[in-house]
């Protein structure tokens, strides 16, 4: 991880996509974190009639709550759930992929075949399946479901990257020195997989945001009544004709957020392709 040294900071600023992506992402993340404190009204405070211009400049939502306040307050849940789901998916996927590549043989074959089965499942379907038999989803369920749907996709990539590494000399020499297999994976294989995995993490975060917000949009809320960007779209859909901001404001924030993270992921790929990242 040499991302934080001064020379690499200069390299990042020269990489336009990565730089712009990081700024956009940082702005949205800051908005989501600080938002609840700078919101002009209470999250569930009724400031006027539904879908009117009372309250702050974005007007009111379907219950008469202030749209701006809801947007400012509704980012944290999406942010936290998406980041945790991405982390879970990345860690799980890397674990499966690297171990499969390193152990090899029939173990690799069986694990990757099962992985293909998991890949035959559209990502959102897994979440919907489990949600169908649950009365009220909890936030950690969404983390688990979204993370689990990422893992097989990450595993395939991680295995591919690791396969190119496990046959290299430095792995063989570490094994010859008598290092334990776990240590070889952690100290020799993983550190050399940084760039592609970082790019994948950015991409997975983009999809996590889309899925978590998408589930909210479909009306599956972990905490009905609480402000949440995805859920806001669902709640205010009927008002689109009257006062579109209740829908458009969260939609735009989600869109900008995903553009930011996606630019970041693409920038990392570009940086890695230029070969000046190690």
């Amino acid at each position: 991880m040499s991302v934080l040294t001064t020379t690499s900071v200069r390299r990042v600023t020269r990489q336009k996509r990565l730089f712009v992506g990081m700024i956009i992402t940082a702005v949205v993340v800051a908005l989501a974190i600080v938002g609840p404190w700078i919101a002009p009204y209470g999250e569930n405070e009724i400031v006027g009639k539904p879908f009117t211009h009372s309250g702050s400049f974005l007007g009111t939502d379907y219950l008469g709550q202030d749209v701006l306040t809801r947007v400012l307050a509704g980012g944290r849940s999406i942010l936290v759930i998406s980041v945790l789901a991405t982390l879970l998916g990345m860690v799980g996927g890397i674990l499966i992929g690297v171990v499969a590549a390193y152990v090899g043989g029939w173990f690799d074959e069986v694990v990757m075949r099962l992985n293909d089965v998991a890949l035959a499942f559209p990502q959102i379907l897994l979440a919907l399946l489990v949600l169908s038999s649950v009365e009220q989803p909890k936030w950690w369920m969404i983390v688990l479901l979204v993370g689990a749907s990422h893992a097989p996709r990450v595993a395939r990539l991680a295995r591919g990257v690791a396969l190119g590494l496990v046959s290299r000399d430095f792995v063989a020499s570490a094994e010859a020195l008598g290092e334990s297999r776990i240590r070889v994976v952690i100290a020799e294989v993983l550190p050399n997989m940084n760039a592609p995995l970082l790019a994948e993490a950015g991409l997975r975060l983009t999809y996590s945001i889309g899925m978590v917000a998408g589930l909210g949009f479909l009306g599956f809320s972990t905490d009905p009544g609480a402000a949440d960007w995805g859920l806001m779209i669902n709640e205010n859909r009927l008002g689109l004709l009257v006062l579109p901001w209740g829908v458009l404001a969260p939609v735009i924030v989600i869109g900008v957020f995903t553009i930011g993270t996606n630019l970041m992921a693409d920038g990392i790929t570009q940086l890695a392709e230029k070969g000046d990242d190690s």
């Binding site: 959102i124 919907l128 399946l129 169908s132 038999s133 869109g255």
Partner: protein, 346 residues
Amino acid sequence: MAQVTTEQPAAATTTTEPPRRRSPWGAWAFWLARRLGLAILTLWLVSVLVFFATAALGDPIRAILGKDYESSPSRVATLEDQLNLDQPLVERYFDWLGGLLTGDLGTSLSNRLPVSELIGDRVVNTAVLVIVSAVVMIPVAFGIAMISANARGKRLDQVIQVILLGLAGVPEFVIGILLVALLSTTVFHVFPAVTISAGGEGPWQNPGSMVLPVLTLVLAIAPYVARIVRSTLLEVLDSDYVELARLKGIPEGVVMRKHALLNAIVPSIQVVALQLAWLAGGIVIVEYLFSYPGIGASLVDSVRNSDIPMVQALSMIIAAIYVGVNLIADVLSILFTPRARTAITS
């Protein structure tokens, strides 16, 4: 092609060519059978996953009845009976699988009708939506890729790349809602925001209402396809044989169409298939957004009502589409790649 049918002693063979025991057609059949077998195995494992994710996790009856769970034990008993909850889990699974294979998809819990009756029309509607989107998307994506590749490094190419990259990350419902606001409710009022179809009538009988769903799906998948096709085109344009064609004095337009585009088709089949397979999941949110009467919107409703038999059947259909599209893509890309073709038959 001579066939070696007699077994030769190993020591006597000095030729480098491996003995061919199967005719090319036999090899093809074998390859296809293996690939089909894998697809069926995959679907079977998917069925296990679908069944146990819906039946074993959580408590379906509590989810169906919600607050009524405590107050009406009689309804709990009825539902237990309907879902055969008194039988062991594994037995229920095989009952369900047997029904699935014989075309009996069970009975919907929310309106007591056979599932197959409820989703028959909807499968057709979804198929129409997906096919129309694909038919629109493929030429659009290829066109954009060609324009972009032609203008490589120029301002136009850069602008197209940034737009494609931006679109690629944005969730489909964000694109859809922005389109609704732009073309239907807020800025212009051109197309209806929801699909209204009278019972029994397909939504395509009112083409205006299909424009926004199709446009949303196209915008959601075209960027990926266009980006991959562009980079494949660039790769081909840099190759020796294209250079040779240019040196022979063939005009650039012909080089692009005849040499570059044709050679970019195989990698493109894979990415188009990947995106079409993605559509199997993507339609869920898009159909819900536009109230399009297809299996995706139906799935969301069934999940909300905890209508387990519906959810199971619809999930299997969606997974089958996904597996099927990938299978077709594999076969097509083998057919279009001479090298892979020979690898199978020899």
